[in-house]
Symmetry: C2
Subunit: 112 residues, 2 copies
DNA sequence: CTAATATACATAAATTTCTTATGCATAAGA
DNA sequence: TCTTATGCATAAGAAATTTATGTATATTAG
């Protein structure tokens, strides 16, 4: 455990980025995907994820579609047109942020 | 402005890292240094910085030394022994975080 | 000479975001 | 049958940050 925390503000952008890549995903799937991609480093808690999804939907960035698989509910989310645009902006911001953090934390690193 | 925000949890580590590099710094100097190193991308607000410095001091990670320069007050902070140890840990954590974020946001990047 | 900007500290209120703790429900595996 | 996994949700609390102030001195521009 030790770490495994996200950092304020990064969750929404991660969600948008994943949806942009995968087309559509449901909540639980997002938590597993993030865990997998980060090799267990990042764990999105449900208490953070679901409110975030609801907020992105309320902002008009996501659309929902309910499905029943194996008698269990799934809510598939996908980007709206507006969501696609916002994803570009927020991703650029996050990339800038990451680059800045690197510059501060380890100027020896360089991104290829 | 648009961006210019830090991200939760990264501020303390940035402060520790800078003090580790520079030996000693005062608050205002830290805000300017971060702005410079990040090319204006990251702006530490005073409302975030000063409470953070006080907290790190209370935790025993920083020592303070007051100085008067040009008839103006400066509070120079430097790492304690314990602060030096903690810096190593927190920096490693932040580096892991940055790597994980990169993996998520842009797997094409690689760190050399 | 005076107003704005820069330097330098500080704190309080409000906001945002996240963790922790719950709750409900079905499926699969030990 | 008990635990773990899947799948959603919300409420309470904690933590970090922004925004808004406040005080004070020094410098620069008009």
């Amino acid at each position: 455990m030790g770490n495994s925390k996200l950092y304020k503000g990064s969750l929404n952008t991660i969600i948008l980025k994943l949806l942009d890549e995968e087309g559509k995903m449901y909540g639980y799937e997002i938590t597993q995907k993030v865990k997998e991609l980060s090799k267990g480093e990042l764990n999105i808690t449900e208490g953070a994820l679901y409110p975030a999804l609801h907020k992105l939907e309320a902002e008009g960035l996501l659309d929902v579609e309910v499905a029943k698989v194996d008698n269990r509910l799934r809510k598939y989310y996908k980007l709206t047109k507006q969501g696609e645009k916002e994803t570009v902006n927020r991703l650029a911001e996050l990339e800038d942020f990451i680059r800045s953090m690197q510059q501060l934390v380890n100027p020896d690193w360089s991104i290829q």
